[in-house]
Structures are given as structure tokens and as C-alpha cells.
């Protein structure tokens, strides 16, 4: 469930990256010792927000700050820092806002749980509504005397006018 939710929330982000890399992001300038490092670099820079442009990751942005941060990530990878250390370095300086995927901390509980809460609320409302409509429909069912009258009417269909005037 959690997995499915986070994938869902990341969808627009994944899409944006795909477009930007199709346009050719400026990440080819960096040399690494092995493909694993390059892949980590790509992944990390895509998870970091450029604080100047805000709508772009530092992998995509051409802002000066994004370039500096890319170099920083590059250097730290070459120096053997772990992904977690690199992310910590960034959030220590720029705050959680630099992360595209917000951490699950008290301040963001509502953000993370919001969609699920809404789903539950909506489901409860729907179940109640459907249940009520069903009950109402059953209540509309004909009473004994009404049923008798109906069959009488259907049997005496030759003189419907009398019925209408009686009403």
C-alpha cells in the first residue's frame, strides 16, 4: 500500500525527468570511476530540488546553484560518501525542501496520509450513501392494499377514466 502510494505521488516527477533528459540534461560532463557511481549521481541529482528554479531538479536545471550542487554531489561520490551522507549534507544546509520526496516526519504526516484519509472518507461516504438508497428503494415497495388496487386496475383496464376521476 505504502509502495503503491509513493509511486503514485512520484508519477508527475518521473514524467518531468523523462522529458528533461530527452531534452538532454547537462550531466554528461562528470566523470566517474565506474557506472555505478554515475548511476548514483543521476539518481541523487534527480531527487534534489533546485532551490532557485524550484520546479526543476538539480539534474535538469542550468541555474548556477544547480551546477554547484551537481559538482558537490559529484565530488562527494568520488570521495566515497554514501547516498545518505550526501542527502544529509544537502538537507543540513538547505532543509527538507531540497528533497523532492518529503521525509515522513510529524510535519508531513498529513501530506503523506492525506490521500489515504481522503480515500477512506470517500469510501465510507459512498458505502453509507449506497446503503441508504437501497433502503429507500425497498421502502417504496407496494403495500398489500396498493398491490390489490394495482391488480384491480390492470384487470379493469377497459375503464381507466373512472379511475382517474376518482382520484
Amino acid at each position: 500500500m505504502i509502495m503503491a502510494r509513493s509511486v503514485f505521488m512520484m508519477l508527475p516527477f518521473v514524467f518531468a525527468v523523462a522529458i528533461a533528459s530527452a531534452a538532454g540534461a547537462a550531466s554528461t560532463l562528470y566523470r566517474f570511476d565506474d557506472p555505478d557511481q554515475a548511476q548514483r549521481f543521476q539518481a541523487l541529482t534527480e531527487q534534489l530540488r533546485c532551490l532557485v528554479c524550484q520546479g526543476e531538479s538539480i539534474a535538469d536545471s542550468n541555474a548556477d546553484l544547480a551546477k554547484d550542487l551537481r559538482s558537490q554531489v559529484h565530488e562527494m561520490i568520488l570521495a566515497g560518501h554514501s547516498n545518505q551522507q550526501i542527502m544529509q549534507f544537502m538537507t543540513d544546509r538547505y532543509g527538507d525542501f531540497i528533497l523532492y520526496k518529503p521525509p515522513f516526519v510529524p510535519r508531513t504526516y498529513f501530506l503523506w496520509a492525506g490521500p489515504l484519509l481522503l480515500l477512506i472518507l470517500a469510501s465510507v461516504a459512498m458505502i453509507k450513501y449506497v446503503g441508504r438508497t437501497r433502503r429507500d428503494t425497498q421502502a417504496i415497495g407496494l403495500q398489500q392494499d396498493e398491490r390489490a388496487r394495482l391488480s384491480r386496475l390492470l384487470g379493469e383496464s377497459k375503464e381507466p377514466k373512472t379511475d382517474r376521476t376518482q382520484k
Binding site: D64, D68, R93, Y94
Partner: protein, 180 residues
């Protein structure tokens, strides 16, 4: 059925309206710094005026001080500069970090607009800036006597922010523990 359920759409609308109103009035270009409330990051960089000397955090030496990130290429720095000059004249020590600049241009800039700084660290590659979480110039940090960052002002200081934020905060911090 239940009466209060009729109010639900109204309540939901209210909640959404409040959230949107808050969201719209927030200035998204001002990102809260995680450094506020923490000790200022140590730094050491060559002095702009005398490259063989260095400027470092310990120069602030327990004063209530401003650390101002600026550059000669930054136009809003020019706008805020008169306010820094005024603060400096009031006896507030201001330390500059010249961010990703060229030395000659920075020196000429100070010549032209006046030097409001006790000392300026020349941060050619923005290394110090990164440690301070700088993402745009100008930025101004208010440091208390204990060397803790008490406030980060993002963007140019204006007459309004000077009067409403910086001056009161500086006055409060200077009162905090005796005079110096």
C-alpha cells in the same frame, strides 16, 4: 437524514479555501533555512582586501553581527547597500561574504558604493555560501552573541524589513546579555 451532513460541503470548502489562502500568501521563493537557531557554520576564506589574510567565523567574536552575502554582479545588493551602510553607522558589525565574484570588480564596487563591512571573505567558488545554505544573493544572517544564527533574511533588505524585522531583532539581541 443527518442534518450536520448538509454542512459537510461547506466545511470542506472552508478547509480548502483556508489552505489555498495560506498557500497563496506564502512566498515560495523564501525557503526556511534549517540553519536558523543553530550555530553559524564555521568558515575561513581569504580576505577580499588582503588576500594573504583570512576572514573566519571567530572574527565575529561574540558580537551581535550581520553576515551579508553579496556580489558585485548582484543588482539587488546595490539596492540594499544603503541600509547596510546605515546599520554599519549605527555600530552594527557587518561581515561580508563576497559570493562567486571577481576580486577587482568587488573592490571597485565597494569603492563606488561604500564599504559597510568590518571584513569581507572572498568566496570565489561559493564554498562558504554552500555551507551557509545560500541559494540566492543577497542573503543576510543575524548572529547573536553565542554565534547562533537567529534570522535569515533572503533577498534585498528593504526599508520595511529593516524597520519591522532587522532593527527590532538586533536591538533585542543586543539587550540579551549585557553590553559589549
Amino acid at each position: 437524514m443527518k442534518r450536520y451532513l448538509l454542512l459537510l460541503p461547506l466545511i470542506l470548502f472552508g478547509a480548502v479555501a483556508v489552505m489555498l489562502a495560506v498557500g497563496l500568501t506564502l512566498n515560495s521563493s523564501q525557503v526556511n533555512s534549517p540553519l536558523v537557531g543553530k550555530p553559524a557554520p564555521d568558515f575561513q576564506a581569504p580576505s577580499l582586501h588582503t588576500p594573504e589574510r583570512s576572514v573566519q567565523l571567530s572574527d565575529l567574536n561574540g558580537q551581535v553581527a550581520l553576515v551579508n552575502i553579496w556580489a558585485s554582479w548582484c543588482t539587488s545588493c546595490r539596492q540594499e547597500h544603503p541600509y547596510l551602510m546605515a546599520l554599519s553607522e549605527q555600530g552594527i558589525p557587518i561581515y561580508g561574504i563576497d559570493y562567486k565574484d571577481e576580486r577587482s570588480k568587488a573592490l571597485a564596487w565597494l569603492e563606488q558604493y561604500g564599504n559597510a563591512y568590518q571584513a569581507v571573505a572572498f568566496d570565489a567558488h561559493g564554498r562558504v555560501g554552500m555551507d551557509w545554505g545560500v541559494y540566492g544573493v543577497p542573503e543576510t544572517y543575524v548572529i547573536d552573541r553565542k554565534g547562533v544564527i537567529r534570522h535569515k533574511h533572503i533577498g534585498a533588505i528593504t526599508a520595511h524589513s529593516l524597520r519591522e524585522q532587522l532593527q527590532p531583532l538586533l536591538a533585542e539581541l543586543r539587550r540579551e546579555s549585557g553590553s559589549r
